[in-house]
Symmetry: C2
Subunit: 159 residues, 2 copies
């Protein structure tokens, strides 16, 4: 009697209440974080276009610049990335001649370091990165941006 003709539905179809679905969309930390990551990644990638690096690659080179020489496992921990993901990302930049992969003293480990080409690429990328970075800080306002970065760090450190 109630709603008979919308379409043929099974007797007791349970659907998530619209209010719950709306609430999830507005408040889900992960969904909104992923949205922001897509937007921001595209923003930095566009800025880095002239140097041929993506922001993911540039930040990986930067991490190695700071920590070299370093093993896969330690670097993965430092940048909060699965070891196997890092392995593959490193391989790609190794194929492009920007990262050197040598056996460590412990032969189970690899010793990662930037090549000359990697250093040069990073130097070229830096001013492009900086421009995008400043634009975003200015658009948010320095205070809001600083507080946002803190919040993001809190998420990284989730128990």
């Amino acid at each position: 009697m109630d709603s008979e003709k919308k379409q043929e539905m099974s007797p007791n179809l349970e659907v998530l209440p619209l209010s719950s679905a709306l609430d999830m969309g507005k408040s889900c930390t992960c969904f909104n974080l992923r949205k922001a990551t897509r937007r921001v990644t595209s923003y930095y990638d566009a800025a880095l276009k002239p140097c041929g690096l993506k922001v993911t690659q540039m930040t990986l080179l930067t991490a190695i610049r700071v920590l070299e020489p370093i093993t896969i496992k330690r670097l993965a921990k430092a940048i909060v990335m699965d070891r196997t993901t890092l392995s593959r990302n490193v391989s790609l930049l190794n194929k492009k001649g920007m990262i050197d992969i040598e056996p460590g003293d412990d032969l189970r480990t690899r010793r990662l370091a930037l090549t000359e080409k990697g250093h040069t690429a990073l130097v070229a990328a830096f001013p492009l990165w900086q421009k995008a970075q400043v634009e975003i800080i200015n658009e948010l306002g320095e205070d809001r941006w600083a507080s946002l970065l803190e919040g993001i760090s809190d998420l990284v450190a989730l128990s």
Copy 2:
């Protein structure tokens, strides 16, 4: 005369100053966002394990729940995702029987909607999602979390 024996290096090898590299790692909006996204995604995925959905899939189902029936292009815009990425993600959930893909009135478009199975999966996922969501809010504290979510939304809306 200065540093001659570290290794054979070319005469004028330009490297990014360590201070610049350190600063980039600490402050890059994108790098830190991506780190947080990896951590948070893994957090929600672990919570959703019992229902067999990943958080990316659950949030896609949720978006369709709210907007159905909707086209690929409109949904992509709503969730700030490239149209072709969405196409593929929708295909996967279509193969799993959770999303219905019909031709729209305009035959160029597709009409996306949840199937019964999709609705059921979403109902099952909701309490698991909610538990993770509450845990994260509690860990950050409600105020910090709310302000963080606002900042994230600001990033999504970047010009």
